[in-house]
């Protein structure tokens, strides 16, 4: 499935980059976070474990908060709040 980004509610978004290898998950996440307003939340879905380290470090550096982390059978679903 190709990359998908959609608005799922008020100040709530979803980015699905399942199936992509580096650097696509982290690049798409970065682009989404650039567009969001402070306090907006994006649910990011990916299944490339090495992207988790990069996304986490990127959020820490930019002051964005990962408010929820789930991983089931290699599929990551993270919620990131724009700081």
């Amino acid at each position: 499935m190709a990359m998908k980004f959609e608005k799922i509610g008020e100040a709530q978004y979803a980015l699905d980059v399942t199936g992509y290898v580096c650097p696509h998950p982290q690049l798409y996440t970065k682009q989404v976070l650039k567009k969001l307003w402070r306090g907006d939340v994006v649910k990011v879905m990916f299944d490339n474990p090495s992207s988790s380290e990069s996304i986490e470090a990127m959020c820490a550096a930019e002051g964005n908060m990962i408010v929820e982390k789930n991983m089931v059978d290699g599929r990551f679903t993270w919620k990131i709040k724009k700081g």
Binding site: M3, E6, Q31, A61
Partner: protein, 475 residues
């Protein structure tokens, strides 16, 4: 969830059990198989470390340029420093298996091509192997692409020969290689014998006028000057140009501004920022150094300098090079053994590919089932799979149409770059840098430039795609 965790654990132990069985049964059949098993278990350790630490050389500079994340640069420098420290000890004992490579601009150009390729592929050569172990189909395609490209590239001539400078051709013929090796034909053969082999070999130990096996040469030359100082400088550059300006750092500084103490603290925080990567780098570096020691010890025990004669004693003489040797680096290496198994397959399908330097002169194309370096790569994949299974991260991932294209292009560029550089991110960069070989840094600079180009392309590509997705969304 519990059921799937148990299933993952079961598979992890099945894989470990399989490798253990292979080692035990092969040793019981013939004690020489312990040589191959040594490669196997070091490969297994590498796979576990790489997966645990998300250790990927591509990530080092790609993620720095793409998303400003320095964790992998730090991880690689930690691993390189530790590997270099252990190697300095091993080298001083005279038991090192390492051979330095010719230094020249070709190393940087090769690194550039390789660097672009690894960004396209989503991982370096070793990264693609370990991600294959995670179940990643795209990474498997990358490995296949690297393998096929190399096996083809090293043997093609024809119209490519017209692109060879006359001086290379003349110099290649003057090397008077064995008759079965056609050094005057084939682009790669003439590149190697007519150009690369004429370049000087420069190690840091020699630059300060000491031998490798002396304390000063090994520790001051190769370790301190060749690795520690450049690594510290590189990390300082990373800190000042990427980390220092990030938002979270500056928020924590407050309005008082930044002092030297703050910079020291910031630098140290950067070094400690990813525990996983640092731990992986620690074990990787030590294991890499130890492998040299173990393999050289086995060579002394069995009275050989290369696995080729060992394989011959075991009754396997198909695919040995004209000098009776096979690829047997004695340390961690990727790409040549991938080229070899495809070369073996091509040969079985009728391609006469033993007349080139790469396969015919030194490396050979032994059956992958008894090729020590192939045991190392397969076990690397297995080690990564075990680690992924134990942390429930294993998942079979079918490649997307888009990722298939990037994988094939990236793998091909990596294949070409690694043949031009006589190695990949491991063989041409990590190992050479750790061993004080200046060509390692030259390849590395090329990789950095290549990563920058690759990131620029993907930033543009993904921005285009995201713009389309965002077109109808109101923020």
């Amino acid at each position: 969830m519990e059921i799937s965790e148990n299933k993952n654990r079961r598979w992890a132990f099945i894989i470990i059990g399989f490798f253990a069985l292979v080692s035990i049964l092969s040793f019981a059949y013939n004690e020489y198989y312990i040589y191959l098993s040594a490669y196997l278990w070091f490969g297994f350790i590498y796979g576990m470390c790489l997966q645990y630490g998300r250790f990927c050389f591509a990530s080092a500079f790609r993620d720095l340029f793409a998303v400003g994340v320095p964790r992998m640069v730090v991880g690689i420098m930690i691993a390189t420093i530790l590997f270099s420290l252990v190697s300095a000890f091993v080298t001083m004992t005279g038991l090192s298996t390492f051979h330095a490579a010719p230094t020249g601009l070709h190393a940087t150009i090769a690194g550039l091509i390789f660097g672009i390729g690894m960004v396209f592929a989503g991982g370096c050569a070793s990264g693609s192997l370990y991600k294959t172990g995670e179940g990643n189909g795209t990474s498997l395609l990358v490995v296949l692409s690297i393998s096929v490209t190399q096996a083809t590239f090293v043997d093609i001539g024809g119209w490519l020969d017209k692109l060879v400078p006359a001086s290379w051709h003349t110099s290649a013929l003057a090397k008077k290689l064995p008759e079965t090796i056609s050094a005057g034909e084939g682009w790669v053969d003439q590149y190697l014998a007519g150009y690369v082999w004429n370049q000087p070999i420069i190690k840091f130990s020699k630059m300060i006028g000491f031998s490798d096996t002396s304390f000063v040469g090994a520790f001051v030359g190769n370790f301190l000057l060749g690795v520690v100082i450049p690594a510290v400088v590189l990390l300082l550059l990373v800190y000042f140009f990427w980390v220092r300006k990030n938002k979270a750092e500056n928020v924590s500084m407050g309005s008082a501004g930044r002092s030297l103490r703050d910079d020291f603290a910031g630098y140290w925080t950067m070094i400690m920022s990813s525990k996983r990567t640092a731990i992986a780098g620690l074990f990787l570096g030590i294991a890499c150094g130890l492998q040299m020691f173990v393999i050289e010890g086995l060579r002394i025990k069995f009275g050989v300098k290369n696995a080729g004669p060992l394989l011959a004693k075991m009754g396997h003489d198909f695919g040995l090079s004209v000098t009776g040797t096979v690829f047997d680096p004695g340390y961690w290496y990727v790409t040549t053994q991938e080229a070899q198994w495809v070369g073996w397959l091509f040969n079985k399908l009728g391609w006469n590919n033993m007349g080139n330097i790469y396969f015919g002169l030194n490396n050979g194309i032994p059956n992958p089932a008894i090729n020590p370096a192939d045991w190392m790569s397969l076990a690397l994949i297995g080690g990564a799979a075990v680690m992924a299974l134990l942390s429930n991260e294993f998942k079979f991932k079918k490649p997307l149409k888009e990722t298939v294209v990037w994988a094939l292009i990236g793998g091909a560029l990596m294949g070409i770059g690694s043949r031009l550089g006589l190695g990949c991110n491991v063989g041409a960069f990590f190992v050479r840098v750790a061993m004080g070989d200046t060509s390692g840094w030259l390849f590395g600079f090329g990789m950095i430039a290549g990563a920058c180009i690759g990131v620029k392309f993907f930033s543009w590509w993904t921005e285009r795609k995201m713009a389309r997705e965002m077109a109808s969304i109101e923020f």
